[in-house]
Amino acid sequence: MPNNQNDVIQLTMRMRISGADLMQNVWHFRVDDAAGLTDEELLADMQMWMQGVESQMDDLQHTSISYEVGKVYNLTQDRPVGPVAWYSAGGAVAGDPLPSGVAALITFYTGVKRVVGKKFFGGLVETALTAAEWTSATLATLDDIALYFFTPTTIGGHGYTPVIYNRTLKTVAPILLYAIRSVPAYQRRRKPGVGA
């Protein structure tokens, strides 16, 4: 089945902390090509895009973060398109990891009130901090990730616009600006062995 122009595509990038706690980032794109594209083309494009993000993320994340799978879903057609594989096994940074809930945060803003995209990146290491704020190198990498998602882009010869999806209204809004917090954010996680 083709993926049509203006269809909203959801890419979920799944990771695990020490093989236990699940972390994921969810990204949304709008298909811009008038001709649409096949599932195979979409999967190839999403994998390619994911590789771009991954090549930045693994420079931030501890070696105990394992990359599991990317899942592609056509929200407009309400159907799964398929899984895509990460290129690498996981984070590349050695050292002591920060507490599991500590995360870097990029906030993407749209022109619509309260429609914002928050992307938390967990699994960072202690050396990413100085005086309780992210180091400049960490902020630079986060900026690379943000920029990678910020502007309309061509992947595999197909046009996409990154968008923020409003689950309540089932509408999308294009991104107008983003902010990266220098102060670590916190994403509550279930403690290992506690709850389900």
């Binding site: 202690e126 005086a131 917090r181 916190y186």
Partner: protein, 198 residues
């Protein structure tokens, strides 16, 4: 006549400031446990001893840019301030990098009354207090030492106090019966000043 009567609840507000910017504090309450009651001067002397003990544990694991403020001592029952006592040091002792501001060690004090407990968050700790995402052994030890300063009937300069938890809902004071030091990091959301971070 004593200023602070038998069973009056004494409140001690132990305050510190992360980077001299973000307030952190813990509220501790204990009741007067001698029938004679105590004068204000005696309570301040005793609370000076007690704060020295508590802060003397936490300063070993806190960052050297955690600045201690004078602790505020009040008679909670009589709703009046008794005075302030100084901490034994002005800052924490650790010179290594701090953990994120919201990360804290957590001691939970339980009472015999189900559902009534007190949580004490100890923030401003440093990265060498964390090992593989959890509090390291030294942090657990110091937090346990802190907890022991608030467990059981306290003898301070020959006078006695009993730690407990005040229930605003019931208007009652429940004695602490046991405590747990969490082996996981807790998180305490902190408001940040306008000039702190972006």
């Amino acid at each position: 006549m004593a200023d602070n009567n038998y069973l009056d609840v004494i409140e001690v507000l132990v305050r510190s400031r992360f980077k001299n910017q973000i307030d952190m504090f813990n509220v501790w309450r204990m009741r007067v446990d001698d029938t004679s009651g105590f004068t204000n001067a005696q309570v301040l002397t005793d609370m000076q001893t007690w704060v020295t003990g508590i802060v003397g544990q936490q300063d070993d694991i806190q960052w050297n840019q955690v600045y201690y403020q004078a602790a505020l001592v009040s008679n909670f029952t009589q709703n009046r301030i008794i005075g302030t006592v100084n901490t034994p040091r002005t800052t924490g002792l650790k010179s290594t990098q701090p953990l994120p501001t919201g990360i804290a060690g957590l001691i939970t004090f339980f009472t015999a009354q189900p559902g009534y407990r007190a949580r004490k968050y100890v923030g401003g700790l440093t990265i060498d207090n964390s090992l593989n995402r959890r509090p390291a052994a030294e942090a657990i030890t110091k937090l346990t030492n802190m907890a022991n300063y608030f467990a059981g009937r306290l003898t301070l300069n020959t006078r006695h106090y009993y730690p407990g938890v005040w229930s605003f809902k019931n208007g009652a004071f429940y004695l602490v019966t046991r405590y747990v030091v969490s082996s996981e990091w807790a998180h305490q959301r902190r408001r940040q000043l306008p000039l702190y971070g972006v």
